[in-house]
């Protein structure tokens, strides 16, 4: 059973630097939420807090009724239900695509080789890479690597997928394939939180867009409102620069 994510009063500080300054955020089952915002605004940190790659300084996070911020929580068990896709793919370079997909199934879920390989094949097909089942990551393009990384997460049967700027490290012509896979996932009803700069994807696929600036959610709502007609000046200037980088003015650094 999938269940919603609920975040209350989340704060995260690295030393003196407060990156998240009180985030309240809810994601319903089956919802696709895109998180946008300037670099350094805390959007990646927010995502990494949701599977405890970063430990929150204070606040509570619930995923599917389990409180992650409870010190006694079995974090490995919670993470099994949450897929994570990284900007740098982080495929295991010493394993083939199939092995990348089977190792956690076998070591964590205790599936047998046959079952794990069947699940792997199914998910490689889902991202259109059956032909690359026996290739090593170094033999794949960036876009292919990222699709294998998505398949690797899916093979664990997650209830929620987190994407941390999944297309930011890709050559522009490879972005489309990855976004296509993500679009398919959204269509299949996967609950997704996507940190991204791809505004066309946000507009088309997201149910909701949240704009984070300086550690707080400045505004959130349906994409046509947040991206199409933002109410805050900060959102407007951010979007202007994202959508037309060449037109952005150079400002004096604070």
């Amino acid at each position: 059973m999938t269940a919603p994510i609920e975040i209350r009063e989340l704060r995260k500080a690295f030393g003196d630097l407060e990156v998240l300054r009180g985030i309240d955020f809810r994601v319903e089952t089956g919802e696709v939420v895109c998180v946008i915002g300037p670099s350094g605004s805390g959007k990646s940190t927010l995502l990494r807090c949701i599977n405890l790659l970063e430990e929150p300084t204070s606040g509570t996070i619930f995923v599917g009724g389990v409180e992650l911020t409870d010190p006694d929580v079995d974090i490995d068990a919670v993470r099994r239900r949450i897929g994570m896709v990284f900007q740098q793919f982080n495929l295991f370079p010493h394993l083939t695509a199939t092995e990348n997909l089977t190792i956690a199934q076998r070591r964590v879920l205790g599936r047998g080789r046959r079952e794990a390989e069947a699940v792997a094949a199914e998910n490689l097909e889902r991202v259109g890479l059956v032909a690359k089942a026996h290739a090593y990551p170094s033999q794949l393009s960036g876009g292919q690597q990222q699709r294998v990384a998505i398949a690797r997460s899916l093979a664990m049967g997650p209830e929620l997928m987190l994407f941390d700027e999944p297309t930011s490290a890709l050559d522009p012509e490879l972005v489309g394939d990855v976004l296509g896979v993500m679009r398919g996932l959204a269509r299949d009803g996967m609950t997704m939180i996507v940190v991204t700069h791809e505004m066309s994807f946000a507009r088309e696929v997201a149910d909701r867009v949240a704009f984070i600036d300086d550690g707080v959610i400045l505004e959130e709502g349906p994409p046509e409102r947040v991206v199409g007609a933002p109410s805050h000046e900060r959102t407007r200037s951010f979007l202007a620069r994202i959508l037309d980088p060449a037109a952005a003015e150079v400002r004096e650094e604070a």
Binding site: N51, L53, D76, A77, R79, R80, I82, G83, M84, F86, Q88, N90, L91, F92, P93, H94, L95, I103, A104, R107, V108, L109, Y136, S138, A149, R152, S153, M156
Partner: protein, 270 residues
């Protein structure tokens, strides 16, 4: 002639070529000088006495070479396991483990293997009133293993730290525990990185196994160096030294080839 009047007009390439020609000439001259100066008759008698070589077989292989390999592998295995534990302690979030591991590495890296071996061969039996179990093999395994562990711990640590952080994060985000992620993801990658220095350690250890003579070995426990020296005294010929030296190469050269093979095979999966 033109060259001598305007030597600075040599191009960079010409200069490099001229320099290399000089190097070859010096090398050739040195070899030639050696060939002319050396007394080949005496070298033949001293180093290639076929009667002595015949005498040394098959024991040089069946006893000496076998023991060298045995001592080396046992000490390496012991040092490998201990070194891995110490490396993980050095990377531990627990400060006491880190301190302990650092002290260990500094101590055993700084003390000559010779002294450690004497301590285990003669010191421990006096101090604890008991021998190290396993006799000569047990003693050299522990003593050389302890020293090798200090070096290998540093190698392991460097290797583990060279694996990008994202690998651990990806493994953890798939639900693996820290230990599982280390074993399945991080350490296998670290091994590829440290294969060359680890090979060095094994080769150094092969030669250090000659220190076993300090423990007082008997005929069946002699290894290559001791065997060679005993034969040297027995036959009053330098030939055994040559034979023993070649026997070491029988171990180390194929090892080097094997590791290069492994490396090139792994290059695919990178």
């Amino acid at each position: 002639m033109a060259m001598t009047t305007r030597p600075r007009r040599l191009t960079r390439r010409q200069r490099a070529r001229a320099f290399r020609a000089v190097q070859y000439a010096v090398l050739a001259a040195a070899v030639l000088a050696f060939v002319l100066v050396a007394n080949w008759e005496r070298i033949g008698d001293a180093f290639f006495d076929t009667a002595v070589i015949r005498e040394m077989f098959p024991e040089v292989l069946t006893t000496a070479l076998k023991n060298t390999v045995l001592y080396t592998l046992c000490a390496f295995a012991f040092g490998f396991v201990l070194g891995l534990v110490i490396a993980l302690m050095r990377l531990s979030p627990v400060a006491a483990y880190r301190a302990l591991a650092t002290v260990y590495v500094e101590f055993f890296r700084g003390v000559p293997a010779l002294l450690v071996l004497i301590a285990f061969g003669y010191g421990i039996p006096v101090a604890l009133n008991t021998e190290v179990p396993g006799g000569v093999l047990g003693t050299i395994t522990v003593a050389l293993g302890l020293v090798a562990a200090a070096y290998m711990a540093e190698t392991f640590r460097a290797g583990i730290q060279a694996v990008p952080r994202g690998q651990m994060e990806a493994a953890r985000s798939l639900g693996m525990s820290h230990t599982r992620a280390m074993v399945s993801i991080v350490i296998p990658q670290a091994f590829r990185i440290i294969l060359p220095p680890l090979t060095n350690e094994l080769i150094l250890l092969t030669k250090d196994s000659s220190l076993v003579y300090l423990l007082g070995v008997t005929l069946p426990t002699r290894e290559l160096a001791k065997f060679g020296r005993d034969a040297l005294n027995q036959y009053v010929s330098m030939t055994p030294i040559l034979v023993a030296g070649l026997a070491y190469l029988i171990i180390t050269v194929p090892l080097g080839i094997l590791v290069r093979r492994l490396e090139s095979r792994q290059a695919e999966a990178r």
